[in-house]
């Protein structure tokens, strides 16, 4: 296994980690809101 192979692995994983983290940060807000809404409506019920 060459240094080039590991360099590709590193940059792929770093880019993947960054992009998926961004996705979670953006989409997670909506999910949290929905989760809290469900909890509140259940508590009221």
């Amino acid at each position: 296994m060459s240094a080039l192979f590991w360099e590709a692995v590193f940059w792929s994983s770093f880019a993947g980690f960054t992009l998926v983290s961004l996705l979670i940060a953006v989409k997670g807000v909506g999910e949290i809101r929905q989760f809290l809404r469900e909890l509140r409506s259940r508590d009221r019920g």
Partner: protein, 548 residues
């Protein structure tokens, strides 16, 4: 001396306060045991992924992965590729996770009672409680050292910081359980991911990829690029990693609780698909930090000054020099002074075949592997970025403590204490019993981290304590779900043999290597299940009946 200052403490303190506030915000929404342990099974894809990943990333993860990168170079990346492949496979097939989610259980051993017997549930619970607690028990020990280096605080103050962290995690976990965890884990994930990306860019800026490649090529004696030819890794190690990660992602209680908390089995599978990318980064990124630390200190080191003479005399001279100055240089962050001496000793020991000197050099290199990365961060990160790094590390640590407190306390309360009391406990009693276990476990962790000394690399200790129950748990659950002839006798045999093999690594006189103990545990667990089930078949509940 680290430039850690007031601005850094303010950034880290604000992040901590935000987390605690989020954790306590939803405390009134916990009404039942199902709320407390699996958040009323209302976990969505993105928050679920954030929760799973932040729980499985702590300061300790950065520390041992960086140590692994420092010691094994790019070969260490193979564990990240294994994790990635395992998560993708689980996400696309739903192997084990879908059926466990559909079973509507809250702890992993609960399934074992449904499929085999309550005794199997208790045995699995005891092994999980011991292995899980021992595994968690060294986290504060290693993390305290990491924080001391990064912040420049002395050990006694760092102990108070760690105690404070444990208390914060304890408060919101005991009060809000999984509901609090989902909310705090999201906040923590955003902070830790930001810090991870920024620190990675800083490492690359300080060293450069070509310097990292050069350091691995020149400093690891030909190792560092091919995991299959590395004497410390090899095919056996890779095979063990595949099995271990399959178990970790399916039946490790803190991970499995996220599967159980998912809205449905399909969401659970999608969480694993998304997690695959993050778990690849969870391994590879801190390993690259470790390699960057190797490059950083190698670039600043001078060849070890040793008087000419016989190799044996040179080794004695190096040993004496290291005995005098190793500790003080390491504590002062002068890795570049001791690294060449350790490397020279290693080469001489290899040339002469001196096992004692080789072992001494190996132990010192392992220690350098653990402290080099935080020392590099303390030297390359300016004020402000150090605070962001600390905020990320504390977020990572808090989420791990909270997640593990809840996971292992759930097992202790629901699978060990509850069934052995001998009478059916009410829902409210079980909820308070779990909270009491969270408090007890926190106290144990605080004490254990003060008294225990880790034998060998932390990475291996963590995996061996996990393997105490991982192999038999996965074997009995897979057999229970997919093999109709799996029996109670097979399940008991699997746990006894699998746990026994793992313990062999912790007994120094047996001299069993970590990969050997790991693979032996898997082999004997499977053998115990097959032979036990064939010799003493049923009458147990077949797989179809144990499912909902």
């Amino acid at each position: 001396m680290t430039p850690f200052g007031l601005l850094d403490w303010t950034i880290a303190g604000l992040a901590l306060a935000l987390t605690l506030g989020a954790g306590l915000y939803v405390r009134r929404s916990v009404g039942s045991l199902e709320d407390y342990l699996v958040a009323h099974r209302g976990m969505g894809l993105y928050v679920g992924t954030a929760s799973l990943v932040s729980t499985e990333i702590g300061i300790i993860t950065y520390a041992y992965q960086a140590q692994f990168g420092f010691l094994a170079g790019f070969s260490a990346f193979v564990t990240g590729l294994v994790t990635f492949a395992v998560c993708v496979a689980l996400g696309s097939t739903g192997f084990v996770i879908s059926r466990l989610r559909e079973a509507g259980i809250m702890t992993v051993p609960e399934y074992l009672e449904r499929r085999y017997a309550s005794g199997v549930r208790v045995l699995a619970g005891v092994l999980m409680a011991i292995g899980g607690s021992l595994n968690l028990g060294i986290f504060p020990l290693i993390e305290a050292r990491f924080l001391a280096i990064l912040t420049g605080l002395d050990a006694s103050h760092v102990a108070w910081v760690m105690a404070g962290l444990l208390v914060v995690a304890l408060v919101y976990t005991a009060v809000g359980g999984m509901v609090s965890l989902l909310l705090t884990n999201y906040v923590q994930y955003v902070i830790l991911a930001t810090a991870t990306v920024v620190v990675t860019l800083a490492c690359l800026h300080a060293t450069g990829w070509s310097a990292m490649t050069g350091a691995v090529r020149e400093r690891l004696d030909g190792r560092g690029f091919d995991p299959f030819t590395d004497p410390d890794l090899g095919v056996g190690f890779v095979l063990w990693q595949i099995l271990l990660w399959t178990a970790l992602m399916t039946v490790w209680q803190s991970v499995a609780m996220r599967t159980f908390s998912a809205r449905d089995a399909a969401t659970g599978r999608r969480v694993f698909t998304l997690t695959s990318v993050l778990f690849l980064g969870r391994a590879v990124i801190p390993m690259a930090w470790g390699i960057a630390a190797l490059a950083f200190f190698s670039a600043r080191s001078q060849p070890a000054a040793v008087a000419a003479g016989e190799p044996a005399a040179q080794m004695e001279q190096l040993e004496a020099s290291l005995a005098r100055g190793f500790r003080s240089h390491v504590d002062a962050g002068e890795i570049e002074v001791v690294l060449p001496q350790v490397e020279r000793l290693e080469r001489l020991a290899l040339e002469t075949g001196s096992a004692a000197h080789a072992e001494a050099a190996r132990e010192r290199r392992q220690e350098l592997g653990l402290v080099s990365m935080p020392w590099m961060l303390a030297r390359i990160l300016p004020t402000g970025l150090l605070g962001l790094a600390l905020a990320g590390l504390l977020a990572a640590s808090l989420s791990t403590y909270a997640g593990y407190f809840l996971a292992w306390s759930a097992v202790i309360a629901q699978d060990v204490v509850g069934p052995t009391i001998g009478r059916e406990l009410g829902e409210r009693t079980r909820l308070w019993l779990t909270r009491a276990c969270v408090v007890g476990l926190t106290a144990f962790i605080a004490v254990w981290s003060l008294v225990y000394q880790v034998p060998g690399p932390a990475y291996f200790y963590l995996q061996v304590t996990a393997n105490l129950f991982m192999a038999p748990t996965l074997v009995t659950i897979v057999a229970g779900l997919y093999w109709s002839r799996a029996s109670r006798a097979g399940a008991y045999s699997s746990f006894v043999l699998g746990a026994g093999a793992s313990l062999a690594y912790l007994v120094p006189t047996l001299e069993v290597g970590v990969a050997t103990a790991g693979n032996l545990s898997w082999g004997l667990s499977a053998l115990g299940m097959i032979v036990g089930s064939l010799l003493r078949p049923g009458p147990d509940r077949p797989a179809a009946e144990a499912r909902p």
